[in-house]
Amino acid sequence: MEKQSIEQLQKICTQLRRDVLRMVHAVQSGHPGAPLGCAEFFVALYFDQLRHNPDFKMDGKGEDLFFLSNGHLSAGWYSVLSRSGYFPVSELKTFRKLNSRLQGHPATHEHLPGIRVASGSLGQGLSVALGVAQAKKIDKDDKLVYILMGDGELQEGQVWEAAMYAAHHKVDNLIATVDYNGQQIDGPTDKIMDLKNLKAKWEAFGWEVIETKEGNDLKSVIEGLEKAKAFTGKGKPVLNLLYTEMGYGVDFMVGTHKWHGSPPNDEQLAKALGQLEETLGDY
């Protein structure tokens, strides 16, 4: 894929946010908050960073691969997948409906291009990504494995089993990003189950940690991913702490757990879309 300008990428972010809002609104279910906060990440990854094979074949060889461990961000992932050519944009309208490939949480048995394992039950993605990364090493495939996890998701013990394994086995062809939005379903993470010093925790587990402090600034997100890439191949797994705002881009949704899993009603949708210019054409 040809590199695009920041301005062009910014437009894609705005369109992704529109897609997400319209998708969850249409079925009155789903999770708008985190995908709004991860729009810059998704777009930076898929339109700037990932070296994907142009044929979108699913054998996964010789290309960078991405895994979404926090599967409830599906609306955002489906949007960026379709906007980058994995499947028709028009299919977004089937999200969460009967007989759709766009399941509420990502699924493989409907064969949606770009998805390689089901997710939705939290805490399992990092382990899977480690296996993929190790398979690449066996095959002497020098491409990278990316994964996104939620910060609340880090409360699952399995994440730390995987963290320990990754450093022990020197899985240095993997970049794990944490959506550090400070929110989860029942409230702010520090009220629900305090994550305390995440950077120190991951470092203590033997990871190289980089912090992307401006996770909703496209340039910073790209710089962060570049920096993370520069740390690969050096014997350590790489963690990208991505500071984002849940609900970013819509003034009444930003910074609260209230929009983790609630769709906007008609009026709220209209108001939200009024703040997000249609750039690539709605699905």
Binding site: A107, E153, Q184, M193
Partner: protein, 320 residues
């Protein structure tokens, strides 16, 4: 054509609210009742209890395995822990923790599982567990309960607080008819014959009890008189009630929002095959995962609604 239903409703509500309201009442009755939840307090309707008894309620964060272990410990300390999360994460996710620390160790832990089955709807198959009754009923010491509406779920919640021993309580997300009485007494392990009949018995559990009530009326219009038995307790199974009914009707249908493999129907088949081999037809999910959709669409697509119970009843009758 309107149906002459033997049970009717004026209101719909989710069974999880029955759990939440029962849990609060149990907490008021017994100071040993405590609660735990893994970042789903709102979804499980545990918020009122938490507000009223903050010192007896523990938010565990998204860490279900830890929650089960802590529950076992609280039970050792004489508390009656109600541990709540989605049914998938309350069973499959933590099976070994339940097996070793709760079931095998015979701890007085109440595993409270919401959003069970297909009717959770749009979230899709990752969350739609259809194997939980099977997993839980296989565990020695475990009591397994799957009530049918708001009122029965509330009554069941109060009953398990008074029952000593590990319990799996399963309920759901959708708004559902309230057709059983508010003041019912819930007897663990005692099936409830809701409608008398002579031609075929419908054994139903959970949300599908309502579908069985509708199916009974549909069958009656065709001159078929079905007996409807509400099996709210999957384990221990009320074998006596099952055998007594099938002795009279001579054939049966099981109806559940669960895999056919390992579900209520399987338990009934075991009972019949040992004591009174009679035709049994299953209404359940046939070895498949679910998908996103509305509850009604999914019950139809996966063959779990009243129409399918009617068809199954006719198949059973034909085999008599």
């Amino acid at each position: 054509m309107s149906l002459d239903l033997k049970f009717t409703f004026t209101e719909k509500k989710d069974t999880r609210s029955g759990f939440g309201d029962g849990f609060l009442e149990a907490g008021r009755k017994n100071p040993n009742v405590v609660g735990l939840c893994a970042d789903l307090i709102g979804s499980l309707k545990m918020g009122d209890f938490q507000k009223e008894f903050p010192e007896r309620f523990f938010q565990t964060g998204i860490a279900e395995a830890n929650m089960i272990g802590i529950s076992a410990g609280l039970a050792i300390g004489g508390k009656i822990p109600f541990a709540g999360t989605f049914a998938n994460f309350a069973t499959g996710r933590v099976y070994d923790q339940i097996r070793q620390s709760v079931a095998y160790s015979d701890k007085n832990v109440k595993i409270c599982a919401s959003h069970a089955g297909l009717t959770l709807g749009e979230d899709g198959a990752t969350h739609q567990i259809l194997e939980d009754l099977g997993m839980m009923k296989m565990l020695p010491h475990m009591t397994v309960i799957n009530p049918c509406d708001y009122n029965q779920t509330k009554a069941a919640t109060l009953a398990i607080a008074e029952h000593e021993g590990p319990v799996y309580l399963r309920f759901g997300r959708p708004s559902w008819p309230i057709f059983t009485p508010a003041d019912q007494k819930f007897e663990i392990g005692k099936a409830w014959k809701m409608i008398d009949g002579k031609d075929v018995t419908i054994f139903a559990t959970g949300h599908l009890v309502w579908e069985a009530v509708v199916a009974e009326a549909m069958l009656r219009q065709e001159g078929i008189h079905a007996e409807v038995i509400n099996i709210h307790t999957i384990k221990p199974l009320d074998e006596e009630a099952i055998l007594e009914s099938v002795k009279k009707t001579g054939c049966a249908v099981s109806a559940e929002e669960h895999q056919i493999n390992g579900g209520l129907g399987d338990s009934i088949a075991q009972t019949l095959i040992r004591h009174n081999p009679a035709p049994l037809e299953y209404v359940g999910v046939n070895d498949s995962f679910g998908e996103s959709g509305t509850p009604t669409q999914l019950l139809e697509k996966y063959g779990l609604n009243a129409e399918n119970i009617v068809k199954a009843a006719k198949r059973a009758l034909a085999r008599k």
